[in-house]
Symmetry: D3
Subunit: 140 residues, 6 copies
């Protein structure tokens, strides 16, 4: 099995804060990430796909189809956005990288069939880099 | 003359918007960067210092003193902040990288004497990386 | 089990094209990569080896032996080459990164015994970076 | 004066060879870069622009205009091309990075007025990275 | 399961040498790394943690707790140190990256309970980069 | 004028300490870098050369000649060495990056004529990266 990992980048802002905690708890749990007006990052998203290599084309997956999927489902909604106020699932949930990664997985899984047939290339993993020091991964 | 460039990183959010333009003009000038709730970046700031090497210590500058200056004047105010709402000079001015860089220069020049004597190490240049594709530089 | 990943770099050119497709199909499938005179890349190859650490030397594998193997079987044939015209297996097969990776694996597996004994360090994975945005992996 | 450096990437192939040298001389001068079928690189092009910051917009230059210029004059002709056979000036001249850089400068200078007015943002420098080890620069 | 990888950096020196080998054997086995006075590296350590995401905080692990652990057990002892003379386990063992990685694992496993409860976030893997060309990994 | 910057890497160890200071002064001036047994770095050295492009070859400089010079005068003496004990000029002088850079410049200037004729390619600058955060430059 071969695995392709393709890189996407988006810039967004967020604030880590939950209404179910007191201000002190929010501050203790999230530190500077709880600052009232938020801050932002250049996120790096790596999408991994596995599957069989098509013998006729020598390719695992159409990168054009993968780009349409990731751009339509993720980039168009997250790039240059504020997670807390622009992305519906984060009006309540806290936009930590862990939650953002799970949201990306749900969005891609839900729309996967738009570009790829049953038994075709499969989503194999996601990696989200918030800063150079913090990388989050979800493996399927 | 030797030149030391020391790297600092901060994460912040901003929105490019001016009240002196119509909504259409703002949109045309700033595109996605004008989105109403803002977005953010992992900024990389390079501070360059020149001067003579102290013969006794073999050093151009005390990096401890430089860190105190940059952390106190820049990082403490910009890291994990929203430029438009947390940083006074951007309540009016547009927080483009060009303007942010000029603000950093003013802050450092104004406080330089706190750490460095007349005739000692001098601020020689500033570089601000907004994303890997866009780098802004100010040379003294 | 410890795993060592060692990095090699080579520059090569290729054209994605198959005689079994019409010109239109080639163009639709491979886009700019089908341009008649080809183009090229700085490929980055990561070779991963696993095994037990030799208690006397504290080492998993002789990097000298690994370098001889990778340089002799891969670098000497691929570096500064044109895949379509210089590398026998690509006179027919399409030199996609997927196929290049499988060719590298076959070359290394076939020659592995020249440097490493049965039961010794084993080839555990290969990763080929065509550009910073596209990484292909084969795991053993 | 502020300086913006914006990064572009293209993949291309080339062969270093001159008909005015014997085969032995070509081989001695260019080594592996003289291999008959060529090889390729992921080139990184940094375009630097200087000028005054527009007080109303806080910007030095419209990055949209700069992108149109660089994409139209350079990327559309060099990306996924073979320098020796696809780019007119290299049917005779040798496509070394030195010559490629001079060709890029001529192309951008010649078309600069299409996007930027007299007295507006000026081309201040070009940098071409052939591999991570070799960087060529032209300063204006 | 989500996985967080957090990056730490330290600078240290070492000499690869074993008293159980002759000088010739040491030289043949370790080459330049056997030079009598040692040499050094900027090591990059990636610590990976897995576990369940806390539904209330949206976090996998407190990065503050992880930092305290890694800084106390590893950084405070290895950063700006000489492995052979400053770190007890390498007064005898050879400070190869393989052995350094195993020492880091033991130190972190032994102290893990100081910060994390039974059933909480678990150490999932370690990666040590000695140079850009050599990366060592231990997976749990 | 075109400028080529070529990158070299070496690993070495050093201790910042001067016998002309008391132990307390050494500790205060150099902090962790004064630790008794030293530590080390992966140094990155960038050598910049300027000159005219040879019209016949399209090249600014023979990279083979430059490599011979830098490898012979710098790499052969600094790579896998301990500055304080293996490099003569640092038996007394403190091996700060500032002093190392000046030593590299003297070594290259002194031997430059071995490879390059009067009026030929000239040494235009040196840059030494001690860590990703600290870069030292000397311009000619």
């Amino acid at each position: 099995m071969i695995r392709l990992t393709r890189r996407y980048r988006f810039s967004a802002s967020h604030r880590l804060h939950s209404n179910s905690f007191s201000d002190d708890e929010n501050q203790r749990l999230f530190g500077k990430c709880n600052n009232p007006f938020g801050h932002g990052h250049n996120y790096v998203l790596d999408v991994s796909v596995t599957g069989a290599v098509d013998e006729r084309t020598g390719r695992l997956v159409s990168t054009g189809a993968l780009d349409r999927l990731v751009r339509g489902e993720v980039m168009a909604r997250f790039d240059h956005a504020d997670f807390n106020r622009d992305v519906p699932e984060f009006s309540e949930a806290i936009p930590t990288s862990e939650n953002i990664l799970q949201s990306i997985e749900q969005r891609l899984r839900w729309a996967w069939h738009k570009e790829f047939p049953e038994g075709g290339p499969a989503l194999a993993g996601l990696r989200l880099q918030e800063t150079k020091k913090n990388i989050f991964e979800l493996r399927s």
